[in-house]
């Protein structure tokens, strides 16, 4: 497994762990005691907005730790530049991510159209963001492994 594959895998696992951890934290600390809180759109907005800096910060910290461990084990620096192949793979990953998020957006709007509560729409949007990010990383991993 080359460094780019390792980097992508670490990003993927980190994102899944952070997302799952955050969802469980919010669910156990706020939703379990008072399920009606989901109808408070201010709460939903805050929960989504707080997730972004937490995810970015955690990704940076884990990336630094991973770089140090990788340097100790393999004595190789992680690649810092993106060449033409990396850019092409990234474009393909963005395309996959875009289509999945678009599908999620349509589902979210569909939930409103059939009369579901707004928080269901927000949850679908949040999860489609998550799934699109996961598929984006999986696409990168696929192209790094298989080539094209």
């Amino acid at each position: 497994m080359d460094n780019k594959e390792k980097q992508t895998l670490v990003t993927l696992i980190t994102f899944i762990v952070i997302f799952t951890g955050y969802i469980l934290y919010v669910y156990n600390n706020y939703v379990v005691g008072d399920a009606e809180i989901l109808n408070d759109l201010k709460f939903c907005g805050k929960a989504f907005l707080i997730f972004i800096p937490i995810a970015i910060l955690a990704q940076i910290i884990i990336y630094i730790v991973f770089s140090i461990i990788n340097k100790i084990i393999t004595d190789e620096d992680l690649p810092t530049k993106n060449d033409e192949r990396d850019k092409l793979i990234e474009l393909k990953a963005i395309r996959v991510s875009h289509w999945i998020f678009t599908l999620g957006f349509l589902l979210a709007m569909g939930s409103l159209a059939i009369g579901m509560k707004p928080y269901i729409m927000l949850i679908i949007l949040f999860f489609s963001g998550f799934i699109s990010s996961v598929f984006s990383e999986l696409t990168k991993l696929y192209f790094y492994r298989k080539g094209f």
Binding site: D2, N3, K4, P79, K81, D83, E84, R85, K146, G147
Partner: protein, 84 residues
Amino acid sequence: MSKPVFKIDKCIITNNIRTLRFHANEMTQQELADRTGVTRQTIVAIENGKYFPSLELAFRIAGIFNVPLDNVFSFRLEGDPVKD
């Protein structure tokens, strides 16, 4: 009136980068990568036929070995006889 059917044969692109590196004083993949401005992984992928480089990178590679482009990469259509 029936529509014309265009059949495009699958193309096969091969390369001699490994051989050229050998003749260039056993140049390493990392050295070639540094001189062409890409990562070593990209050179590995090109050598293994997993990635076809841009025309610019192809010319850069040929320039480093000081050979014409068709000495580095060869192209044929599926079904064509293999040239020696």
